[in-house]
Amino acid sequence: MRFLLVQLSLVLATSFAHAASIEARLVRASNDLKVVDPSLKELQPKLKKKFGYDFYQQLGIQQEVLRENKTYRLNLGEGFVVFVTPKSQTKKVHELELEWTSGRASLVKTTVKIPEGNHLFIKGPAVADDWILLAITIRE
């Protein structure tokens, strides 16, 4: 019996160890913030290259372990919510259905394929001179 339990826990541990996770960040891009957000240390150079702003502030973050055909509701704050449904996975490339909403409005709906370790950036609405961005990352 003890042997069976050990086996079962090993199988479960292995299956979870290989499960990828999604990380969604709500980011404000600005030239006026004058503050470097340490939580965006990894993404900052990529964001700067893609969007050109000097400063980026993380407004919210959510992370979930991906399971196929389950819809996740990632509340990022400031009224922004991301709905994610993993559809399939082939060789560490994840196909996701993704919807970014604000309030009752759907900003964008997309089906994307993202390899593990890669990012998807979505440029959203403009607030004053700043932009609201969504950064999606798939982690192993």
Binding site: K50, G103, L107, T110, V112, P115, N118, H119, F121, P125
Partner: protein, 186 residues
């Protein structure tokens, strides 16, 4: 150039011919005694004209006139590649009928190349992750708010994808943005 064409020789002397047409004409002039004589004759006429220029009355100054000509030449150059190709290919085929025989062969080779490339791509997916497998890709993309659009962009130097949503309402601050989107019911 299988036929003696004075216009071609004139074009060659005026620097109007380019690419394969220039090369073919030059080659013909070097090999054809009739056209070589015509070439020398036309060159002599040009030299005489250059040596005895008549002062022509012009409404524009010389610089302004030349600027207009250059602008016109630039506009001509900006014509699409395919338009130029469409004009050159029939002419080359007319001059080199033997190339017509190569046409079907070239098409067959191209078709085989495409077929072979397709097969290689299909096999590549079984052997291991291809280069494209490292890149993000957008399969479907749509926006529901009226007058908005979304475009996916991928730079060559990055594996990351960017989706650009345009036309979303602008607001002066975060609170107004929340109110604005809360009132949108889409």
């Amino acid at each position: 150039m299988s036929v003696h064409q004075k216009e071609r020789i004139s074009g060659l002397l005026d620097g109007e011919l380019r690419g394969i047409r220039r090369w073919l004409t030059e080659r013909h002039v070097h090999g054809c005694p009739i056209c070589a004589v015509e070439y020398r004759r036309q060159r002599h006429v040009r030299q005489l004209l250059q040596a005895n220029l008549l002062p022509l009355p012009m409404s524009d100054s010389a610089d302004f006139f030349w600027a207009k000509v250059k602008a016109q030449i630039r506009q001509e150059d900006e014509k699409s590649f395919w338009t130029k190709l469409g004009a050159v290919v029939p002419e080359v085929l007319r001059e080199r009928p033997s190339l017509m025989a190569w046409g079907p062969a070239a098409l067959a080779i191209a078709a085989f190349g495409i077929f072979w490339f397709g097969r290689m791509q299909a096999h590549g997916t079984h052997r291991g992750p291809s280069v494209a497998a490292n890149f993000s890709a957008v399969e479907k993309l749509k926006t529901l708010i009226p007058n908005t659009s979304a475009t996916s962009l991928q730079s060559n130097d990055s594996q990351d994808m960017v989706i650009w949503v345009s036309g979303l309402p602008w607001t002066p601050n975060m609170n107004e943005m929340k109110t604005e989107f809360a009132n949108l019911n889409i």
